[in-house]
Assembly symmetry: C2
Homo-oligomer: 759 residues x 2
Amino acid sequence: MEDLHVIGKSVRRVDALAKVLGKAVYSDDLVLPHMLYGKALHSSYPHARILKLDVSKAKELSGVHAVLTAEDAPNNKKYHRTGDTWVLADGEVRFIGDIVAIVAAKNEEIAEEAIRLIEVEYQPLPVVAYIKEALTADNLTRNDKSDNIAMSFNVSRGDVESDFEKAEVFVTHRYIFPSLHQLHLEPNSATAVYGLGKLTVYCGSQVWFRTRHELAKITGLEEENVIVKAMEIGGAFGARNEQIVPILAGLLAVATKRPVKFTNSRLEEFLATRPSVGMEIELSMAADRDGRLLSKKAKVFADFGAFTSDSDAVLGIASLRADNNYNFRSVYVESVGLYTNHTPTSAYRGFGNPQMHFALESLIDELAGKLEMDPTLVRSKNFIKPNQTGIHGYQVTSCGLEECMAKAKELINWDERIKNKPPGKGLGVAALVHVSSSRAGEPEFAGSCSMLRLDSNRKFTVFVGECEMGQGACTVMAQIVAEEFGISPQDVTVVMGDTDLTPFSTGTHGSKLATNLGNSMLFACKEVKEKLTKCIREHLGTGPVDIKDGNIVGSYTGEFLMTLAEGVERACYANSGCPFIGLGIFEPKTVMGDRTGYGHIAPTYSFGIQMAEVTVLENGHYTIDKLISVHDIGRVINQQMALGQVYGGVMQAVGCTSMEDLSVNKEGIYQANTLLEYKPPTILEMPELFGGFVETIDPYGPYGAKGIAECPNISVAPAVTNAIYNACGLRFDDIPVTPIKIHQKMIEAKGNKGKESPR
Amino acid sequence: MEDLHVIGKSVRRVDALAKVLGKAVYSDDLVLPHMLYGKALHSSYPHARILKLDVSKAKELSGVHAVLTAEDAPNNKKYHRTGDTWVLADGEVRFIGDIVAIVAAKNEEIAEEAIRLIEVEYQPLPVVAYIKEALTADNLTRNDKSDNIAMSFNVSRGDVESDFEKAEVFVTHRYIFPSLHQLHLEPNSATAVYGLGKLTVYCGSQVWFRTRHELAKITGLEEENVIVKAMEIGGAFGARNEQIVPILAGLLAVATKRPVKFTNSRLEEFLATRPSVGMEIELSMAADRDGRLLSKKAKVFADFGAFTSDSDAVLGIASLRADNNYNFRSVYVESVGLYTNHTPTSAYRGFGNPQMHFALESLIDELAGKLEMDPTLVRSKNFIKPNQTGIHGYQVTSCGLEECMAKAKELINWDERIKNKPPGKGLGVAALVHVSSSRAGEPEFAGSCSMLRLDSNRKFTVFVGECEMGQGACTVMAQIVAEEFGISPQDVTVVMGDTDLTPFSTGTHGSKLATNLGNSMLFACKEVKEKLTKCIREHLGTGPVDIKDGNIVGSYTGEFLMTLAEGVERACYANSGCPFIGLGIFEPKTVMGDRTGYGHIAPTYSFGIQMAEVTVLENGHYTIDKLISVHDIGRVINQQMALGQVYGGVMQAVGCTSMEDLSVNKEGIYQANTLLEYKPPTILEMPELFGGFVETIDPYGPYGAKGIAECPNISVAPAVTNAIYNACGLRFDDIPVTPIKIHQKMIEAKGNKGKESPR
């Protein structure tokens, strides 16, 4: 293992050149002959009955090829596994951004004019604007439901009541984590082409095959007649799991039999995609006086928006995952998914895990305060250990939490700084656990499949059904092939995502590619190596041969016989031109979660420690001075790219911790629909940032690797709020923490002086 | 075998709908953003020294991105296996149409203007205009050679001199078969894109991988960095074996780093592609009084034009192939390929075989006349038989010559008509032999490779590196898959030709696809069936299963378990999304021709009989009233498509027999450069036409099938000229036979009355 020549190196991204030179083709770059342009009419009411919808004037406009409403889309409600989505509003509109009609016209101006010519009469209905309201109010989010509860479940493990009785220290709090936008820079765009009974859609997606499936359902075509072609992707972060835009383009293409491009404006990205699931979490925890965590009780209220999307799965993760970091004896959770008149919510990097980590890691900090213990120590005492099984069934293999804590403390100089803390400065810590892949997708299977192909042109081509959305999967796959064959990653061509060319995949989520896809890639390499060496032996008149450092060498002599490239070319020609194809399947020994979510849902798990140092001024302004983000992701395949993931994830989390908020006012109207109002952080807001890795070599990951993708986003918020508390003695249970909130709390605190004080 | 459900049926072409609806995308249909347009400056001299070539004004023209001459193309002469071609004229021009410079500009008008601004000063050089001149004249076609002989060889089998001594009847004649244009309707067009070190060329080709190879050689790129993407093809007939246009587009794209489209005008198609090899053949034959053919002597002079292209192979075929129809005891041939200042010549449907068939089948007719035997009888007496080995080593398996003759005679009512022949009417007959595939390509191997893929979308996709150029290969592949799986051919998607997606192939020529590719397809089906049934058995909990009539059934019970589509989908998902891929290799037991061309060069051979009935008027005008074209192509896979091949091939042959001629005058100037002047036949010229098949079931063909593609074009000319002789007593040894030629000969004949008369 130790003589790896490419794995572990910061090799250049194989897609770097195309991207920096502007050669990469993104969805909206595509221009096809005779292409039409699609536009949508969105509801500006959060909730209203449609009394009249007249598209006749729009249809009559010259240059308009189609105007579609729910009436024209008989499978309108077949979109999404839950069957709870109207792609086109039927009878009523249920959120601002709900789509009332779509238009295809020969240019964008005509399409927009047609949108203006659509006559709609609305009767406004009462609005459910807040989670709290949803549970208690008489108002209904949707007139087809008798209450606002979309989903609810309780999970109990161990004897919670008894543990709470036995415990000596208790903490309890209510936390608010708002809905956030994933804010990928590239707006959704898709171009659909329909002809001869086949629909081809060019778009970016995290889930090519799911997008194919959804397109088939909604257009009524057989899946074999729908093709999704992969375009470059300008960020996803969960937002391209559920895509409306390819569906709209597909419907319009089928209706017009012309290519149709549909590109969202930034406003549409805010209103009519699928932002993250806002949550309110009531959390209680019980511990003994030594700081041993005994039990935890939680009530989770999740804002599903107007439809149930993947929010149901997000709520499941939020309810259970964070518990697996610690050896709780018992836990209880009561979870409710609620309908509100918001844009439906869904996946965002971390998939519900940041929400609960914010609550849990804040409350552990509070517990440490009560115990007058160092918060790093309380955590360390309770960490899950390698080869233990978590309370929800996760069979942990490698676990470097202790080492991550030690490294993070060293990087921030914790022990020294916490003792000699200058006034206004504060340190905070938070731990995290996440899956490296998880069972998901439709149909359900945990595996991945990769295809490697060697051809007469000496080319190594990887075909995988997953997506490169900037995370670097493309390069990781190239590195694995390069490692196995002793060649350069730049010599490997990676085709990711074309439903006609790549093997089926369940989609790119759950930080799964390095482990799941990586393992399958290893097996594909193995198969090709066997076939190639066999063919060389049998057809080129050599004895047994091996592949070594990009050459074909004698198995026993180690003697150079020919270069690998030459061997590939000659063997292929000797074999009647037949390519060498390896199909690698990785089927991890996971256990599907049971009815209560108990299961071993990932081949392995990643862990991490994040720390923050802040300065809080007396006027409430504060700066995040330093962030430490140390991760146990097993073998680091590419240090530079892994650090890229850390920087990006932390940056996003800094945004949600201190600035971003997709909130509505009491009329249900969004308070931020532009990048200026929504205020994501810029480079000026970035703290000094140290990423680090603890390389536990995991027995189930390829070369010992685990996933990194979502981890850095998971526990930045509690690390920062804990640091703010450490700096100024004020605890924030809702994010974003803005200077104005701090200032208000400072004023309140002065009124209550003495009730609570910082360590 | 007898319960075939799709093979043998006239199923609809799988590409029919796209073509008739105008949805098929041909090369020139492609429009890419920022695309430039290429144009060429051609020589209008058949032979001249370039004294000055100044492109500076052209380069200065606004909108011009590149002007390239031989100087800018260091690998200019690496094109083609023979290394005998200058893509861009270097120092001298050697034929009218020789390319002096190429230009890429932002539109066609500017490109044309740039062409006009190129200043060239020529010093005309003596011209070699005719084959006869080439051998004897002092003039040289090319100043880099010391004579005009491009190639020469002699082949002798048996004791020719002794057989001629023993023989009782002799005939001898000199035949002229002119150069012809393949006249595919779609002019050559290619669009090349260069970026990030990779060159992608979109074009039509019969030889995708050879085009890739040529592009790599001439641009200096590695083959792995060159991709040829298949566009629809509007006819090929051998003309897309050697392609200049993709090379020009490729050179310009590399030079400009912009997409470049290059589309030939019809004039360029005539002057600057690769028409067929014109030949003059001196033939003598010796027989005994019973009509047994003893020996044959031939001298073949072939017009290679200015460069040796595939003309060398064409001359090889012309020299040997036709002999295999008959049991000659000895043959001798002396073949010379000659340089002339014509456009270089190359492949055309039949690949040299029509040239020699014209001579041989005419001379056998003359022999029959001398023997006063029915010409069908002379042939039948001498036909090669099943399981015999021809004089050049062809190991004949199935051979239906006798049956073809019987069927043709019946169709034209030969015995009756020949006895009671009305004045001015005549009947003629000619036999033919051709390969079903032959060893060709670079590198040399005789096999084919097919890939079949079944995916989670239940789709059957065939990937093959050969081309669909209208002949119907696409449908034949779909029929084979459909037959093997009990599904409809319309459910099979066939991807033909994309050098990155399809297995390597040596190219589509030699009537090889039905046998070679078809067999490999069968093996690919077999592999997929095995993998699929194994997976269903192992993963879906069934016992052993078979595939029957599009369903999965129990192996022992025959009971229906699930549809095949369902089985594919479920098995794929159960197998972690892994597709089922079958790679079929067919390696026929052929024997490469030795130095003298002796070998068994095809897996099997096709045979046929063609007959004509003509009316010759006293003024020399004549009509071909009826053509009979009966072929032994083993199992007929698709009757309608096979008849389509017959109609098309016969139509082309009618053109060359009666109208077409790509001749030059003594200055070397082409006499026909437009469709109007070149005069191909229209539907008005088409005779009543009866195609028929004799289904010998060949042991080496898939389901017993052999190739048809080139056969119908091979022996129409001698059938017609033999019929003309039968009608008016005039024998024509040069085609096309025009009314004016007949009229002239009638006048001459009146002068020589009595010397020769019709049977």
